[in-house]
Symmetry: C2
């Protein structure tokens, strides 16, 4: 019996640069896969590396970064060029993980982008298998390296250029940042009458879920869609907070416009 | 052996007035419960009653409405007073199902409100057990009638007055109508670069799901929260559609204000 064939083959070694939310979630997902492995984590200060040092080499010095197949940069957008410059002499592929930064901002000769489309929050676990990963590389061989990692983590892997990725990131601002802000406003409106915000949870979950089965344009309901001016007027009178009133007016007006055109 | 104790006891007979989305979903949920029963459905035209007539008495004439414990009015807000007037002589309890209409708009002597907080879409099934039902009645005995029905359908039943219900309904506009509209905008932005909107589905679902574990104010991310003027400027330049640009500006500005105050 040949035991060797039961030993998983690590196909890709990775140095992770960064220790924020994205780095933490990537680290956990990568180390849950048998075919890829983080061999070192780089961070600017020792405190931020504490969570990693039990299982992986860590370093705060760019000079001591080891050789690897892939250098994955998971730092704030502003810091990407500087961190990438610190590993300019490395032969491995260098990829950042940002939606908004073009591939050309990397000064490295072999450069790429590995963008997981999700909003990561510390301590809230994510299921990486459902997160779309958007890849970009300048050479086919480099793309294949990214693909090994992406496919080991997620069921949805796609290729897009920097322009498309930037546009997707912008769409995500509307779908994620702005809708989260609407949840906050709904919570504030509930508070005024001492209503438990949890009553709205099933509606919020159902609204998000429905978009998988029905295009949002068809799913739209409410006074603005049915051009119900009397109800909208009543709502505006109820909204004492000028910010709430402004959002209500702008959103309702845009919805009215969208459905007016169809008359 | 006494077989009688195995026969479920119908505790409440109901006449359902209306044949739209809400009426359909209520009808199905009520008839799935052994303790409550729709004995008749009233609608203005025969065509709309087709789906009901196989299992229940139907009528288009208010004069032939039978006696029941509860008359449940599930019609458009505007039509509620007129439909309620048609059953003014009935002894049973009369309840409408609207979030925005006060209890006093019912001309009946025994009046109430039975408001299921959900956005119903024809042909998309709902799990009624998770839908909060908000009740209002003027007499304790009438409230108990409503409670029998509500508890037979849902795990979340609460009491609130017309003022609170109106406020909850307004909060739901933000949480449901407006966030659905943002999904539509995100889809439009994707279309411009031929990006598959399905890539955003996991993010949208995660954003909605996260609000169950983290207050929206804490979960907020994005350029507006971190006062990242350069990224916001870049986004505004990318948005060619004036409506998209306007929503981006108004939402971002409000988010910036919220977090500025905390500095």
């Amino acid at each position: 019996m040949n035991l060797l064939k039961f030993i998983p083959l690590v196909m890709l070694t990775i140095v992770l640069l960064g220790n924020g939310n994205v780095a933490h979630h990537l680290y956990q997902a990568i180390n849950s896969s048998a075919t890829v492995r983080v061999v070192q984590v780089y961070g600017r200060n020792e405190q931020g590396l504490k969570d990693f040092e039990y299982n992986t080499l860590v370093t705060t010095s760019a000079e001591t970064i080891v050789d690897a197949d892939l250098y994955l940069i998971a730092v704030n957008d502003d810091a990407i060029p500087e961190v990438a410059a610190g590993i300019r002499q490395k032969k491995g592929l260098v990829a950042h993980t940002s939606g908004a930064v073009p591939i050309t901002s990397l000064p490295n000769s072999r450069r790429a982008v590995f963008y997981p489309l999700q909003s990561f929050t510390r301590d809230i676990p994510v299921n990486f298998t459902t997160i779309p990963i958007c890849l970009e590389a300048e050479h086919e061989k480099d793309f294949q390296v990214l693909e090994v990692l992406a496919k080991s983590l997620s069921r949805t892997v796609c290729r897009m250029d920097s322009q498309q990725r930037l546009q997707l990131h912008l769409a995500a601002i509307f779908a994620n940042n702005f809708s989260n802000y609407l949840y906050y406003l709904a919570q504030e409106i509930c508070k005024e009458q001492e209503i438990n915000f949890e009553l709205l949870h099933p509606l919020i979950l159902e609204t998000a879920n429905k978009m998988r089965f029905l295009p949002p344009k068809k799913a739209q309901t409410g006074p603005a869609r049915r051009q119900d001016a009397a109800t909208m007027q009543k709502h505006l009178e109820m909204l004492k907070n000028p910010t709430h009133r402004n959002i209500y007016e702008v959103m309702s007006h845009s919805i009215q416009e969208l459905y007016e055109k169809k008359l």
